[in-house]
Symmetry: D2
Subunit: 341 residues, 4 copies
């Protein structure tokens, strides 16, 4: 089987990472590469690392350009996916790396993103309880946000063990902000500096984390989420904590819950005791590195997880979902081996 693939938003970071991964995927052939303002320019000008596609020129993102492919990856600003997807055949697998179809609650959508909710699609985080089932055979997939991916996987196994009040501080590299030409994203500004943003629950990934953990817990979970921008291109390290549900949960219970949750997962790696995740170790890979402990002075669970925001946090998840949806082995074209140091 050779799948014909199109990528909309191919000049951006998410689109570029989808292409990087697909160039190592044995079952695909890369078709249309489209862009917005960059249509008409050479892909190489935007993605100098994608040498096998050096002769490609970007075309405009339209339903016509994207039609006729088996799989279409959308890496577009939010608000653009629904319309395009509606014009692609129902048999076409459409994988949306954007936010449009992640939230199930229309009111939440309207509050956080504005405009009309385009409806939710199967959510591309197979490692959540029941997550894989929804993706098998799907033809529409909403790829999770990067922060929700790492935070949800770090805390999901704890949901039966902690009070439903979690704190997440997630430090991220700059590529999560995309190629936006904003002063605070200039190299001169980010190197040598750390800054928090979206403080006080203002980041749009907050409702998505809440949605995931609430679903796992079966009851409302309060999520205090703060993202921090740090001087590295890729990687998110999430530090997540919550009070233990009672003083009686043993450390062994906690670890056992995590081991049970991820024993068979190809990409989520609970590290051996004493090892802690680093984002450097997952660079370019689809791996989640995870560790958990208990602060016994406070009876508080603390979990730390690392991902590459562009890989497992976006494009790797997208490819993983493609594999699942089309019945390919889930790990095809993906790896848990990072590029380090």
């Amino acid at each position: 089987m050779t799948l014909r693939i199109a990528v909309a938003g191919a000049s951006g970071y998410a689109g570029g990472e989808v292409l990087r991964l697909l160039l190592g995927h044995p079952e695909v052939e890369i078709g249309a590469l489209t862009a917005g303002g960059n249509a008409g320019t050479s892909l190489l000008a935007h993605q100098p690392h994608l040498l096998p596609l050096a002769d490609r020129v970007l075309t405009e993102t339209t339903a016509e350009e994207l039609a006729g492919h088996d799989v279409v990856f959308l890496a577009l600003p939010h608000g653009h996916s629904a319309e395009i997807a509606a014009r692609l055949g129902e048999d076409t697998l459409v994988i949306d790396c954007g936010a449009d179809h992640r939230l199930t609650d229309a009111k939440a959508w309207e509050r956080w993103y504005g405009g009309t909710h385009a409806g939710s699609w199967p959510y591309g985080l197979p490692e959540l309880p029941g997550g894989r089932d929804a993706l098998r055979g799907a033809r529409r997939v909403a790829v999770p946000g990067c922060y929700p991916t790492v935070s949800s996987l770090a805390l999901a196994p704890a949901m039966g063990l902690v009070e439903p009040e979690v704190t997440v501080v997630a430090v991220s590299g700059t590529s999560g902000a995309g190629k936006s030409l904003k002063p605070h994203l200039l190299g001169s500004e980010v190197m040598g500096s750390l800054s928090a943003y979206g403080v006080g629950g203002a980041h749009r990934h907050t409702p998505e984390i809440t949605q995931n953990l609430t679903a796992v817990a079966g009851r409302g979970v309060k999520v205090s989420f703060t993202p921090v921008l740090a001087p590295l291109p890729r990687g998110i390290l999430a530090t997540c904590s919550a009070p233990l549900a009672s003083g009686t949960t043993s450390d062994e219970q906690v670890r056992a819950a995590y081991e049970r949750a991820y024993a068979d997962e190809p990409f989520v790696h609970l590290l051996p005791v004493g090892h802690w995740p680093t984002t450097g170790a997952v660079l370019g890979s689809n791996a989640v590195q995870l560790q958990v402990t208990v602060d016994r002075d406070l009876d508080r669970l603390v979990a730390v997880a690392a991902i590459d925001n562009l890989a497992k946090g976006t494009a790797g998840a997208a490819v993983q979902c493609m594999n699942l949806a089309l019945g390919l082995p889930e790990t095809t074209g993906l790896s848990s081996v990072g590029v380090a140091p």
Copy 2:
């Protein structure tokens, strides 16, 4: 008045930063510069930025070498300060950048550092309530740890407004770890990577933060503290949060408490609403940049503060305390202007 100064541990980062600041201080003259294993080598080999001291050679750290100075800064591994200080005259101002005399509770000392507690000295964080009084005229000063400085100042004004259960995730540059030759501190390892350490309440600065906030609150405060290592040489950004004491505290009350606390402080800057701290903006300066907000979905206060860990976090605080102890204007030789970008 010209004060004659000695610095013990002059080849390390803390000692180097004390010297950097003293080179801009109008009232001092730099005397003995001592070291441990680096004694006998040129200062320039370790501190290539201190050109005015390029002809200095490090001597051995002994009480004899340090004697005969008005002020002695100790930047030594913990456990070494008490003995040396005991052999310096009572009139000598001894400023310990290490941990030996920060904790007031001997049991806590023994638990966290091991060995016998050497007793506590006046604590060098003048911006805490009552903090300045203890330092005026002091001849022994314990400089706070870098994480306790930024965390305590970020949360102290909130102590009357929140439940006594705070969460601090503080992201730090690598110089906080000193010049230790450990593989995980190599440039190849830290650049492009993020990692948490001392997770689960295991970092030695935890009891110091707890001590400070408990003193301010007048009741026991539980502190969940996680440090994160990030790829920059200097800077700490602390994200601190706690549940509001009741749902009725208004945003205005919160801001007013912070404004009141720091209105007259020369180095603690509550930023205008809408501005958030960055560590880049405080590089090399003694400033604390601070902002606070309320997450109304959770009724949770979130404060973010940035310092330069070597400056306000160590050597700047040391010089500030020297000024206070000796009756100089508190800001002499110090600045709130960072080196950015």
Copy 3:
């Protein structure tokens, strides 16, 4: 004497650095702060490290705004200085951080910058032979480019000892490119990457280096210049080499020439033998760190120099020239002590 100062282009990196230095200068008072597109916004939004100026709002860059000051620093895109300077009084000291008045050859100006040459002003590199004289009492000063500063100082003492064919490869931090919102200057692009630009003699600083070295040598000097962009905010390290004029020049002759050239210079530091410059050691300072050696296999002189491109490379030089022009001690408000690590 208190000088009243205006800064045009105060929202950019050069303007910000001029202000940072002036905040530590004892003889000045900061007046008008102007900008182009950023007029009307708060200075703090652009320069979060300049806390003492937190209440300032940028006004528009016009001759009227800039009038009535003793000193006007221009940090503008090239082509804008002449017109404004013409409308400021002849007694006003105008210091142009831009390129407009650096080249003495109108033809060279037209080739490299286009448009009409606005004439040359006294050149702000006092450490070149005769350089200081031209600046004493001057009321117009052209601050050198950052690459010409470091390259010219690295090679000037060698001009009598080498063939007039020099090669300069200078690696620079990103702030040299200013705050331009270009994709290749985004943090995600520059961190973890190195790139050359202006290769093949295409960079506009080439004729300026050539002009300086030709003046020192008293004959035409050919300059092969390549700049390289590296992942750090500040700093330039220039590696400069040239064939020795004959095989008979001894290492001692070479070193003696450099020692002689800079023995009395407050900011140019020929390091002790065995020490090599690093940009980290000059961060935020006005120092030039310099070392020279001979490759005896090739009979080739190799000099390496480091500066902070925003300080000695731009704003520090500007302040140094102000001091010289107005008869203040040349080092007022400036330092050779870098902020390291």
Copy 4:
């Protein structure tokens, strides 16, 4: 065919990168992993990115441990390879990532490395003229140094067009220095700083570059080589220049020579005119990105090339040579697609 592989020096950067690449190679099985001082410790402690080998423990580097494998990669300090190789069978493919067998001239070896020359092995740079032939069927391979790889490939096609006097300034990430615990390699020292080293022809890669270019040119080539350390983990950007042999060589001749040299090379990519190499674009890949131009003011050729020093500069070349030696398709397990941004 499944090849059984051993790696000596598996806890270091070169050994880790060999393993990273082999984990993606379809024809190999990973056998013994040995180390020196780290023998007895878990591989994961040193290579946290190699999760599929998380259960491996390092054994001691001895000929016995390495025996019985089809291929043995040696990533050892120089001086250790000859003895071990002598004790491995002649049919075993031994690939030395170290320097021991690169230089053909025993006198040069003794001058630059000291001790007795262990003899030269087939040199693992297939892209040099005739380079591939020597590697087919070889059972001993000397992997080139990282700087010689990038410099030789950047200049080899020019050898008939330029005077035999070349200047190379190569900027490198820190992993080229290995995991040595030296103060100047600490993250705090390298981030935000640039420094030259081995200045004046003192770097050991100088004779290797000279050897390569002399072989290509068929006459002695003088090489002025200066390496510069920059704040990134991986990547080398080499700026190479030489005077054109006569003023008459056209730009077209120059480009044609480069096109001809690398038209059929899978890993050396002469970029389209107007594109310049960046190390970010080759991260983790075996690609060489290359561009060349002529400075017409000087009649000087300038070539710029980028590699990942650990990949094409070391481990990627090693795997490429393994493929060639054993008759596998040369690109097996290797890619020209970098991990960017």
